[in-house]
Amino acid sequence: MSQVRVLVGTRKGAFILTSDGKRDKWAVSGPHFAGWEIYHLKGSPADPNRLYTSQTSGWFGQLIQRSDDGGANWAPVGNKFVYDGVPGTHQWYDGTPHPWEFKRVWHLEPSLTNPDTVYAGVEDAALFRSTDAGQTWHELSGLREHGTGPSWQPGAGGLCLHTILLDPTRPGRMFIAISAAGAFRSEDEGATWRPINQGLRSEYIPDPKAEVGHCVHRIAQHKSKPETLFMQKHWDVMRSDDAGDSWHEISGNLPTDFGFVIDVHAHQPETIYVVPIKSDQEHYPMEGKLRVYRSRSGGNEWEALTNGLPQSDCYVNVLRDAMAVDSLDSCGIYFGTTGGQVYASPDAGDHWTAIVRDLPAVLSVEVQTLS
């Protein structure tokens, strides 16, 4: 019997939600690491019982926790994130040079094949890798030092590296995204990098078509079509069919193209999901209606999915790491809100229910499909 495990990071702890394949009854475990900000937790595709968690605090800094039994027990591992060499400066909000300073881990991406290898995307933006199950961390400094780093500038949430995609068909190819620098690609396991932002247009920077400076919120990829990438940018939903070499807009008939999350159906590489948010000034859904939008054509034509979602007086946000899909035959879609709800749809978005309603603000949602 299949099982689904939903890993939820919140402002005040982590929660693990489990169900069988029907996905109609859920058990809630948590809070784990009560009172700490859990930016992200994710399981290893190579060993589903191996979980990694980013536990952080404005008071006590960064911790990384690891579980080897699916989240029943946890132990802290290495938390020393030190930039390679003399890190230099990036741009501050006011355009002045600002020293690179480690603040927190936004995203943990376990290797597709080795449960002891895991990547960490951090603020101030850099990529780290551990090959000893999180005990020690080493920066892949070719990203920060490839040339454009000194011109990177933080978005409102900080200069964060929040997205890491590992290409399942082309070993060594990786994609990352940084707010507000843009998207980058490596072909050699993170040793060297280049910006992949051609086609992006951002009116909030002096040159709207600049090589870097774009506030990319999230990138998604389907394993069967790895040359195709989908992007939710600060404004604009974008698509690339050449691994990021060029992008074109697919916002189409969306009511607003601002938002944070984007994800792809587990079995249909042209079926994608976003949650439109009114604007960067008003971080809540339009008209107080929480609507997921689905495109079955890879973008441009979108349909609102509302069945089971609040359609009045709803003013939550859905943050960039807070949507995920399972891989059961009937693909499940999941997202969490800043109001503490985690919604699930076991039928690809047609019907939604809240698994839980009153968690702390949700920062991240990941899903493991267990057999």
Binding site: S57, G58, W59, F60, N79, F81
Partner: protein, 98 residues
């Protein structure tokens, strides 16, 4: 013997009670007490002081004998009553966030 009081989150993290007792060789200073604490409980490395700069995290405070020692130099000698164990060395999470 130095008595150290940790904030609740660090007690949970280090699996300790409200107070930790440490033996510190020589004249105890802010630096030597923190090093002894981190040596006994490695999980606390990086949570009180930055890994690289060794500076106190901005939202933590060091109190002893009703004095704020947070801004003293690392080699500041701890008060005699802390060294004798009559008074604790308190690591406190500052009130922040409303």
């Amino acid at each position: 013997m130095i008595r150290v009081v940790l904030p609740p989150h660090l007690r949970t993290l280090s699996h300790t009670g409200s107070e930790v007792q440490l033996e510190v060789e020589g004249q105890p200073t802010l630096r030597s007490v923190l090093e002894a604490l981190e040596a006994r409980y490695p999980v606390l490395e990086g949570t009180i002081r930055d890994h690289v700069t060794r500076k106190r995290r901005p939202f933590l405070r060091f109190f002893a004998c009703e004095e704020d020692l947070s801004h003293e130099a690392p080699d500041f000698a701890l008060p005699a009553k802390v060294v004798s164990g009559d008074e604790p060395f308190i690591i406190l999470g500052a009130i922040a966030g409303g």
